[in-house]
């Protein structure tokens, strides 16, 4: 890795194929988004030597829009983390709070933008992986509605939850990048037509007069005092500009973190099964078990090459899907997911957008959270409900604490990215 922040795993330029709205701009791409001929490691030793033969749909769209890709950014291994420290290629520093983590899992992408090493970046957000690093690095990140952006070429962690999203220094920049990557793709059957309202950049007009902003107490109560202080200041800023703030309730979010991790880990256990040494990872022939001709033992030996966090999630996910536990965990988590979705739908009956701190805490110090996975999972409390409900959300900088930047999260109704972009542009 190079540069001061170690934002990139691979620094390799990919030329644009056409002129377009992003001509003259540089884009950093998270290393779980496939780039033809350029390594795509997912931050894992398992894919250290993997070079995809094809471009992800979003990469094609970037190139067609005139963007120059400047490299592949560091990330938590397969997106599993909130700090970018589970990367097999080492940690990334936070340019906005040196000595602290840039957040995760798209930490490299947010750090590259914050450090000015790229004009824009793409991350992916499974449970907050775009919004968390955007908040920690003091930049803007959008998690689009599930189905707005093609996932074709995004190496799956939890495919029912994740979306590729833009990271930029400004709301306008993030909206411009979203406009380029959004839209149906015949290679991703979950992408949807989203109507005529795709002019995201023009929505960043700062006009929040008459907007109703819902504030769920459940997502504010547990947050750090210093974070809440900045959050309250942002709400006041909205009110000054003519918006109304109302209290809403999302009781289901109490179960969201548990439900999220069961679903995400279950899906991960299946999505990561293909990395078995037959085509990816170290060759199985090196082990004694393979000599004995036992494929299962050979697979198991190769899969020791995953990092600790990845192994933990694969094991837990396998367990949650197993006979006897499937009902108790996986099915129950799906019920909770439906409940979260209903809660948001109800809240949107009184509010146009829902606001909360993106992260309940300021950035951790490098190395601080590695020993305590549970603390790390709980830090996702405000971001994961959005993925469970398939909704769009944006994180926009909202001041700083002594430990680093604070992000304001604004959640919108499905495919109503324009409203959260408009609201965010009023307070940046």
């Amino acid at each position: 890795m190079s540069s001061d922040t170690d934002a990139f795993i691979t620094r390799e330029e990919i030329d644009p194929t056409d002129e377009g709205p992003l001509s003259g701009r540089t884009v950093a791409v998270k290393d779980n988004i496939s780039t033809a001929g350029v390594p795509t490691t997912c931050g894992s030793a398992m894919l250290a030597d993997y070079v995809p033969p094809y471009d992800a749909t979003v990469v094609e769209r970037l190139k067609d829009a005139g963007a120059r890709i400047v490299g592949k950014t560091n990330m938590d291994e397969f997106g599993m983390g909130t700090t970018t420290e589970t990367s097999a290629f080492g940690p990334t520093d936070n340019p906005a709070a040196p000595g602290r983590v840039p957040g995760g899992s798209s930490g490299g992408s947010a750090a590259a933008v914050a450090a000015g090493e790229a004009d824009l970046a793409l991350g992916s957000d499974t449970g907050g992986s775009v919004r968390c690093p955007a908040a920690f690095c003091g930049v803007v990140g959008i998690k689009p509605t599930y189905g707005l952006v093609s996932r074709y070429g995004l190496v799956a962690y939890a495919n029912s939850l994740e979306q590729i999203g833009p990271i930029a220094p400004t709301v306008q920049g993030a909206a411009e990048l979203l406009e380029v990557i959004a839209g149906p793709d015949e290679r991703d059957a979950t992408t949807r037509e989203h109507g005529a309202e795709t002019a995201y950049a023009s929505a960043a007009d700062g006009d929040v007069d008459g907007l109703t902003i819902g504030v769920p107490t459940e997502l504010v109560e547990g947050a750090d005092e210093a974070v809440v202080e900045q959050f309250e200041a942002a709400l006041e800023d909205f009110r000054v500009q003519g918006a109304e703030t109302v209290e809403v309730s999302l009781p289901s979010v109490e179960t969201a973190v548990q439900a999220y991790y069961v679903i995400a880990m279950g899906e991960a256990s299946s999505n990561l099964a293909r990395f078995d040494g037959v085509r990816y990872g170290p060759t199985a022939a090196a082990t004694d078990d393979a000599e004995a001709g036992n494929w299962n033992d050979a697979f198991a030996a190769v899969r020791e090459g995953f990092g600790e966090e990845v192994k933990r999630r694969i094991l837990l996910g396998t367990y949650a899907l197993s006979a006897g536990y499937h009902d108790k965990y996986y099915d129950k988590a799906q019920d909770a997911r439906a409940w979260v979705r209903r809660d948001f739908a109800e809240a949107f009956e009184t509010a146009d957008v829902i606001a909360s701190p993106t992260m309940p805490v300021p950035p951790f110090e490098l190395g601080e959270s590695l020993d305590d996975p549970l603390q790390m999972y709980l830090a996702d409390a405000n971001t994961v409900p959005v993925n469970l409900a398939n909704l769009p959300a944006i994180s926009v900088p909202a001041g700083e604490t002594a430990e680093g930047p604070v992000g304001l999260q604004l959640v919108g109704e499905a495919f109503d990215e324009r409203t959260i972009i408009r609201a965010a542009s009023a307070v940046e």
Partner: protein, 493 residues
């Protein structure tokens, strides 16, 4: 209890899981061709999706779903409002993603049935479900079998070929029934145009077999009896004949065990076709846990209304009955003529132009007989059906004799690939004209006074002798019926 009584009191109960490859242009979840050339290069018919490359996504080929609905209509199954896909998770080197995309709780077909005949009796077997899934790749064990190979190569050309798994209830009571069922199933699937039996590996059968006390089969509900009996699952069956042999072997093996008071082990067994036996799989089978869960990459597909919208052709049983009535055919002819859709279609083409009996004789007896003798199928001569119509035309117009048409023209058409007119020309088979026949008749009468005497004294056999003489003189090109007539006319004058 003697061994013999015990034998009589035991009965086999068999259920099947039949995997058939569905005929579609492209694979089930990507745009790769399903057309496997004999000499294709391994891993040449692949893309990121069927290779299971990281990040690639499946997109459902609705053609495969349509084929599934056709099967559903043919077996009178329920088609759901919405059909969806699940992941079946297991590790195997031929499986690109180490999970298979298949159907679980919303299969495309449920609760169907299929009637077939065995030993002259009609049987109906219930079909629990039929679902769509993707075929894995294939393994090539270099330098030996799976156990002894130096290394194993993986070819993903087959990966993603659409499969339909048809699961029957345990309604079979013997290997003969299984064979008859499979033949009928293939016939129906071929009629639907969703299956090609000639394709290598297009049919794969897993069979579950238990031995129970025959008395327990009297009631409707045999589940209690089945719960008590251990069953074996026999894998690696790839033909009707293989199914019959494997299950007959397995039935005997289990009955012998029960008769000797030994417990039948609950296990998976491998049908070894070359040795004609089933062998226990090397590793002990544990209860498999496939950790099924919804495939989020494929949204559920609404198929309500598809059953009404999708047409299927007339099925073999219905066509057989229609042939008997419409063309006044015997049961045997009607059966032969509907054995495959191609044969039946060809017969109808011919019967539209010629007398239906003549058409039946030519298609069912002559053409199928000669093809069968050469181990050929009607599909092997599909492009030449015009030539066979021409041949029947030559016979019907009395341009050549039936005997020559059968024995010379048809055979040379099949053996040498010649057109019928070319054979007639080359062999000089144009029918001898009437004058030449008359001359030969008169000559035969002149030269065989004894036979003429015999004829006049009432011996019909003498006439046959004289016909033979005329036929010889005309090198077989005269029509025996005409010769017969002319002889009588001359003799009776």
């Amino acid at each position: 209890m003697t061994a013999q009584t015990a034998e009589r009191d035991l009965s086999a109960v068999i259920g099947l899981e039949v995997h058939v490859q569905l005929e579609t242009d492209t694979k089930i979840f990507c745009g790769c061709s399903t057309d496997a050339a004999d000499d294709e290069v391994p891993n040449s018919r692949v893309c990121p999706t069927c290779l299971g490359l990281p990040g690639a996504l499946p997109v459902l080929n609705e053609g495969a779903v349509e084929a599934g609905v056709k099967v559903g209509k043919a077996i009178d199954a329920e088609i759901p409002e919405e059909t969806s896909f699940h992941r079946k998770n297991y590790y195997y080197p031929d499986l690109p993603k180490n999970f298979q995309i298949t159907q679980y709780d919303a299969p495309i077909c449920a609760d169907g049935e299929l009637a077939f005949r065995v030993d002259g009796e009609e049987r109906t077997v219930n079909i629990r479900r039929a679902h769509l899934e993707e075929d894995p790749g294939s393994l090539q064990h270099a330098g030996g079998s799976i156990d002894t190979a130096d290394y194993t190569l993986v070819d993903y050309n087959r990966a993603g070929t659409p499969l339909m798994e048809i699961v029957t209830e345990p309604d079979f009571r013997g290997a003969d029934e299984v064979r008859a069922f499979l033949a009928k199933l293939e016939e129906v699937l071929e009629y639907l145009g969703v299956f090609d039996a000639s394709r290598d590996g297009s049919l794969r059968v897993d069979a579950n077999l238990s031995i129970v006390d025959s008395k327990t089969l009297d009631g409707d509900d045999i589940s209690a009896a089945l719960e008590d009996a251990n069953r074996t699952e026999v894998k690696n069956i790839s033909s009707h004949r293989g199914a019959q042999q494997a299950l007959a072997y397995e039935e005997t093996r289990q009955k012998n065990a029960v008769r000797r008071g030994r417990e039948v082990e609950q296990e998976t067994r491998h049908w070894d076709e070359s040795r004609g036996i089933t062998v226990s799989m090397r590793s002990k089978e544990e209860e498999k846990d496939y950790r099924y869960f919804r495939e989020a990459d494929l949204p559920p597909l609404r198929v309500s209304g598809w059953k009404e919208e999708i047409a299927i052709p007339e099925l073999p049983d219905a066509r057989r009955e229609r042939f008997r009535g419409e063309y006044d055919l015997s049961a045997e002819s009607a059966s032969k003529l509907t054995s495959t859709k191609q044969v039946a279609d060809f017969y109808e083409t011919v019967a539209a132009e010629f007398d239906s009996d003549l058409a039946a004789t030519w298609v069912a007896d002559n053409l199928l007989g000669e093809l069968n003798y050469r181990d050929m199928q009607v599909t092997d001569v599909e492009g030449r059906l015009d030539e066979f119509t021409r041949l029947i035309d030559l016979v019907d117009g009395e341009a050549i004799t039936t005997k020559n048409a059968e024995e010379v023209v048809l055979r040379r058409m099949l053996d040498d690939g010649l057109a019928p007119d070319a054979v007639v020309e080359a062999e000089g088979l144009g029918k001898t004209d009437d004058n030449a026949v008359l001359a030969a008749v008169r000559e035969a009468i002149e030269e065989n006074p004894d036979a003429v005497d015999d004829y006049e004294s009432g011996e019909e056999g003498a006439l046959n002798f004289l016909v033979g003489q005329v036929m010889q003189a005309t090198s077989g090109s005269a029509d025996p019926g005409t010769v017969n007539e002319r002889l009588r006319a001359e003799l009776d004058e």
